[in-house]
């Protein structure tokens, strides 16, 4: 038993057994995180490089902490201070980092396919921390882990994903992951952001929020990317909230025990009402904690895949 690839580039490339292995392993790591001494020596002597071409606080911090808790050395490379600004190509930057002895390269980039490209060109294990509008696999894995913790099974759950699906790598990874584990997925949002062709992914598409939320087990909210405002995708944040914002009243359409999730960072009052974000059914902060356990599991398992 083990993962089949040295890299985690997307959920698309995993099968259900891989996903279950990662989630099982993560529960062992979750337990490590509750101890006084939260560090284990498992990957002593390994090196992790966080290569972030896009601003990120929570994902980078989470990967950094996960790598440190496994006793790897961690280097953060951010674009603004690196030789990338001097015009070095992505491939050269990555090869240089590999030549320094990196065992794991965690990469985030605004272009879809960057993680694939690096995985193909490097011997180091490449972990996708978000590539363009393609995938953000560890986010989907931590979402699944959170659902498993609360519901124990994913199969046959009705999961509503709400918001800017079109531009969301989180949504894409989640759709693949949820489908692979047998959940039913519905997408909700304005037609400009949830195009009908998404049905080809084997999901239901709703433009009406109340209708889409009916009897859902899980409500997964996405961040409305403010930079898209004024580009014709939706008229204004006020109007967006009126139609697709998650309020307590709307949440009442979902199942009584429905979980509210959000990958963060949240825009309170745009996609989610403050009282819902802080409410009893919100597991948003647990998602953050679980992210650490899941990323530890991913690094640990990838270390076991011999080239």
């Amino acid at each position: 038993m083990g993962l089949k690839s040295k890299d985690l580039v997307g959920i698309k490339e995993l099968d259900a057994a891989d996903i279950e292995l990662i989630l099982d392993t993560a529960s062992g790591f979750k337990d490590v995180l509750t101890r006084d001494i939260k560090k284990v020596p498992a990957l002593r002597g390994k090196t992790t490089v966080n290569l972030f071409y896009e601003p990120s606080t929570r994902t980078r911090t989470s990967f950094e902490l996960a790598a440190k808790r496994l006793s790897t050395d961690v280097i953060n490379v951010s674009v603004s201070t690196s030789s990338v600004v001097k015009g070095e190509s992505l491939r050269d930057t990555a090869l240089t980092i590999q030549a320094l002895g990196a065992d794991f390269i965690v990469v985030r980039h605004s272009c879809s396919g960057v993680a694939h490209f690096l995985a193909k060109n490097l011997d180091a294990s490449v972990v996708n921390a978000g590539d363009g509008t393609n995938e953000h696999p560890t986010q989907a894995l931590l979402d699944l882990f959170t659902i498993m913790e609360k519901r124990h099974v994913v199969r046959d759950l009705d999961v509503a994903i709400v918001g800017d699906i079109l531009h969301s790598r989180v949504a894409k990874s989640n759709i693949y992951a949820l489908k692979k584990l047998g959940a039913r997925v519905r997408l909700i949002g304005p037609p400009t952001l949830v195009p009908a062709f998404m049905r080809e992914l084997g999901v239901d598409v709703y433009t009406d929020m109340d209708e889409g939320l009916r009897d859902a087990d899980i409500v997964m909210m996405l961040r409305i990317q403010m930079e898209r405002q004024g580009r014709g995708f939706f008229p204004s944040t006020v109007e967006y909230f009126r139609n697709w914002g998650l309020t307590a009243e709307r949440l009442a359409k979902a199942k009584k025990n429905a979980l509210v999730m959000h990958p963060g960072p949240m825009n309170r009052g745009v996609e989610i009402a403050s009282d819902v974000a802080d409410g009893l059914r919100s597991v948003i902060l647990e998602q953050v904690t679980n992210g650490l356990a899941v990323r530890m599991a991913v690094l640990y398992l990838l270390a076991g895949v011999k080239g």
């Binding site: 062992g28 337990d31 006084d36 599991a297 270390a303």
Partner: protein
């Protein structure tokens, strides 16, 4: 080919004797905490705790320790060891921790287990109880309580089966 080293009754007697030895060495069962190494050691630790309770008249806390993250062979093995849960239900600071494992062989698991225990707290002492000591130590480690000493060759394997895993209690020596 195989040979039975211990049957159900032998195991029962060995556990009973070890429980008495643990009680004797620690002058009672006060401040003891049993920690079994996943997975065989956990079954053994639970059984030892039951006997200790009969002898000492008080409940002994039993924990389960996963040593996957403390192993020294992560870069050598073909696959990563499965990460299981560590569940130690009591504070181990100033407790006498008895580590329990089914088979003592190279001693490397015990080294890993001691490191893992130290990360959980500072016990006043760590002792070691094993059902079978098959020799071939690679580290300076010695068990305090042994069910049975079995001289083996490196080609042989020692398998311990437990009722808890759906098999009859027995210890078997196997070779090609």
């Amino acid at each position: 080919m195989h040979k039975e080293l211990l049957n159900k009754e032998d195991i029962e007697r060995a556990i009973m004797r070890m429980a008495h030895e643990i009680t004797e060495k620690n002058k009672g069962v006060r401040s003891l905490c049993l920690i079994g190494i996943q997975r065989g050691g956990v079954h053994l630790a639970r059984r030892l705790a039951m006997k200790l309770r009969e002898i000492g008249g008080r409940k002994i806390p039993v924990g389960a320790l996963d040593i996957a993250l403390y192993r020294d062979d992560i870069n050598v093995r073909k696959e990563q060891p499965v990460v299981r849960r560590t569940e130690v239900p009591c504070e181990i600071n100033n407790k006498k921790v008895v580590l329990v494992d089914d088979v003592l062989y190279t001693g490397r698991s015990i080294r890993a287990a001691m490191d893992a225990v130290m990360d959980l707290g500072r016990p006043s002492a760590i002792q070691l109880a094993v059902l079978v000591d098959r020799g071939h130590r690679e580290l300076p480690i010695k068990a305090d309580f042994v069910g049975k000493n079995v001289p083996t060759s490196l080609e042989e394997t020692v398998t311990v089966q437990f009722l808890e895993e759906g098999l009859d209690d027995r210890v078997v020596l196997e070779w090609a």
